[in-house]
Symmetry: C3
Subunit: 140 residues, 3 copies
């Protein structure tokens, strides 16, 4: 569900850092009861001569695009809270290492979303819990 | 129009499989009369140590992001039907090979969509047919 | 803010061309007073055997996905004008070199958009001017 695409300079993260950053991001969702496997994070290295900010090539910038499907945050306050928590989660690997960065989160309607071909049980909290417990989608 | 981004483990698909999968996806649209060239499919290999699902690195997962521009499906039933057909189209290359996978389809308003700089003839079925017949955009 | 993802055949652009194209795109926004650093452009080479248009592998096609956050264009005429200017900006590097291409622009609500963790001053023109003047985000 949440899809996180992280565009970064090739050397920005070690494998250990990518793992740790992924764990921190995943926890933002599992803390709310979502199945861990919903959280997909794709690290995409972009070479300096293909990464432009303000018309200039850079290896000091990280751009993150997040898409939410399982939950639409209902109002501006909740959205602001999410952004705040997200910034805390990523700070040790981005801000604290001296990068500039930009994040945006999109909310995508879930009607054409499928996990292993199954309709995610957004409207069936008990089944969603079961998916979370097993950490995989099962027919219902 | 439909843009399909397929994020996959580097070795997931042979060139023949990518071709065949692309043909099957393309037919979903040409069957409805859309020009074949509207259908763009980008395969993006993601290394195992950059592909995280549920906080864990994986080479067993395929994530597909689809964007529709030429047609907005008018109701939930039609959307569900599309998802079903899409799952059938991709199953031989993903489900049947033992991967886990996730798909979502987004519907993007077409006002700022251009093909070779031309406004696609969404509102002009006769011209769209001509684009489909020639399989290229021509001024009108 | 504006995020431009340019999917292109590996050899399509020299570094000088990528720089020049990025400068031309960036000017579309700085001409309107937006901070230059808002404009992020990611060039993503896609190998011929991973780039399919109409079910066929190609190295003659360029696909551009643009996302706007800081400004939603208020009506269809303004959107059409933007698309026209965009096409002019990219033509020397795409149309004039004989590629086929497709562009679409999406407008994403800005509530969960952050620059270096800060809420961009969309509603504070004086602060936005200051960000533009300094070409970096500063707390306010």
């Amino acid at each position: 569900m949440p899809l996180h695409r992280i565009f970064h300079p090739p050397g920005a993260f070690s494998v250990a850092e990518k793992t740790s950053l992924s764990e921190r991001i995943t926890k933002l969702y599992t803390n709310r009861g979502l199945p861990a496997f919903y959280v997909v994070i794709l690290f995409t290295p972009i070479e300096k001569d293909s990464f432009f900010v303000g018309g200039q090539s850079t290896d000091k910038f990280i751009r993150i695009v997040v898409q939410h499907l399982a939950r639409q945050l209902p109002n501006d306050q909740r959205k602001a809270e999410f952004s705040e928590k997200y910034e805390e989660a990523i700070a040790p690997f981005i801000k604290d290492k001296g990068y500039d960065w930009e994040v945006h989160v999109e909310e995508v309607p879930p009607e054409m979303w499928r996990e292993n071909g199954l309709i995610p049980p957004i409207k069936f909290p008990e089944i969603e819990k079961e998916w979370a417990r097993l950490n995989k989608p099962i027919p219902y």
